[in-house]
Symmetry: C2
Subunit: 340 residues, 2 copies
């Protein structure tokens, strides 16, 4: 059985009142107590192996110093670095994370949020792609700060940390255009998630800025961010427009699916067709060919989101800051000038 040493035990040993122990142990109130007494209390606590029960504390202070983190699926390599960014920053401030995987399932999401609320989390960081907006808005309206990560709301009603999808796609498009490509296709992500939508728009804009056409025939959409969905979308695209020389994919997994499609058709990449991904997932630098992709600062995303949450927590103010982080292009072997 766990033998909890309480503040009362310490008080008994130090020969003071429990209240005094509480004051002596809490840095903020330590000045209220005689230094010698404080010293005695500290020693007693040390000797007894006293460990404050943060749950009991939270009951009193109405703070749990825990934060709920909503992730679609941490098995997706995109998320762990973000989570670490969050953990490292929040950990410095004494917060611990309650992380849950939602699998983008509305039912799971709701029940998880309920459970975390019941655990009195002080706030949420949500990296879920299509989390029920109302649910989150409701939570935020209830006074629990919510920070969005990797997605934003149309109306900007919740603070969010995202990467500039337009800029990222622009980097990709400019790169292949500079290589000499003119007939460029886009394998887009699901259009009901903000990254899929934003990258699609970014593609249209960047093509237009380059003075190139981007007709609907040269754009297909995957219904999920998976290799198989990417393969299917790419097949459809190449069936329709076989003379495309470069493809901008909405993410690395789709890009990998595109490579599968190339293989299936006997298309050599990058000799006959170039491909650019998005995210720079681990190991994509070791694929055949190494994938040219848009890198996003995952860890920083997490850290910035944590910062945002910390200020919300501190000031109690409902800010709705929208932070846009810059992606960078990583050129590898999957892109080259189009065949003469």
């Amino acid at each position: 059985m766990r033998t909890q040493v309480t503040i009362r035990d310490v008080a008994r040993v130090a020969n003071v009142h429990p209240g005094t122990v509480s004051r002596a142990l809490n840095a903020r109130t330590r000045t209220l107590v005689n230094p010698e007494t404080a010293e005695r209390v500290l020693r007693a606590a040390q000797d007894l192996g006293y460990r404050p029960n943060s749950i009991a504390r939270g009951l009193k202070t109405n703070r749990s110093y825990t934060v709920g983190v909503l992730i679609p699926d941490m098995t997706n390599p995109l998320f762990p670095p973000i989570m670490r960014g969050i953990e490292d920053r929040l950990g410095e401030s004494g917060y611990t994370l309650l992380t849950v995987n939602t699998d983008n399932d509305a039912e799971r999401e709701r029940s998880h949020v309920e459970a975390l609320l019941a655990r009195q989390v002080d706030g949420f960081i949500a990296a879920t792609a299509r989390l029920d907006v109302e649910l989150l808005a409701e939570v935020a309206a209830g006074g629990v700060p919510v920070i969005l990560v990797n997605r934003s709301l149309e109306n900007g009603s919740l603070p969010a940390v995202t990467v500039d999808d337009h800029q990222g796609i622009a980097l990709a498009v400019e790169h292949v255009v500079a290589l000499g490509h003119r007939r460029i296709g886009h394998v887009g992500g699901p259009q009901n998630v903000s990254t899929g939508h934003g990258r699609h728009l970014g593609f249209l804009e960047a093509m237009s800025a380059a003075g190139l056409e981007a007709p609907p025939e040269r754009i297909t959409f995957a219904d999920a961010y998976s290799e198989t969905a990417g393969l299917a979308a790419c097949e459809q695209l190449l069936d329709r427009e076989p003379d495309i020389t470069a493809i901008i994919a909405a993410n690395d997994r789709l890009a990998i699916g595109c490579c599968d499609s190339f293989d299936r058709r006997g298309l050599s990449c990058p000799d006959q067709i170039s491909i650019v991904g998005f995210n720079d997932m681990p190991l994509v630098d070791r694929l055949r060919p190494p994938l040219t992709t848009v890198r996003i600062p995952q860890r920083e995303i997490g850290a910035v989101a944590a910062d945002l949450l910390l200020t919300s927590l501190g000031e109690g103010s409902a800010q709705t800051e929208q932070i846009l982080l810059e992606p960078t292009l990583v050129v590898r072997g999957s892109t080259q000038a189009p065949a003469g």
Copy 2:
């Protein structure tokens, strides 16, 4: 501000005593209350949007229904599936996870464990490779159940869920032997972590069982499970024993490092040299060549560990069951018969 609806508010609306509300709301004690009253209470709770404060409950029941999960670094793709296995199983039973990354740093480990203990976690699942054994044993001795994952203690003093490293390496060795290889090297992992140690022993045994020699010259050790450490160890191995035709690596990342070494030397894999990894990490099936590797049931490991913890939690008994899960061999392109 968060406006907490308490059990008292519900009581007022339902016109009963708070104690009755508690009973009506708790499935286990609901039978003690008049069905009609219970109905009234439930409706009141519903109307008010009552959400039980599990922290307050925990204070009373001395249960937090949270579990601490110790991971070296969840950025390592080996761990997320294990974590999901844990979460899914434990979630079914109402537990939420407090996950921390220890970076294999003793200092971080201790402080994290302290923090989690202060948060009254009901138990731990530790996937850390070289966690301070004393720390964990201490915790377990204090009455908080600890389950080890992916590692075990020499003396088996703590329950553990691991894969059979010996068997896994045996599968790898038997495979290359069957292909005709005779001069087989081993790039081992850090010997101070149980997997590194176990796989090394497994290699020696399997070679002996195959009637082959495994002299020390044909074995080198990486000082970490990283690609660069694998590269260095492989370089050393091939400098010493250039006529090796196959290498069994202690894990996939080391195997990838070995491939780097092959590249550097102009050795073609698998034509001139074969390589087998361990873990079957995501994307290793898409490397050049696709990696032959030993797959471990990551998700199951997590689920089984969760089960073990649940029984410990339920019975309060300090079992020390040791569970060994079976690995399987996944044959891909990185192994073939040795050149004539």
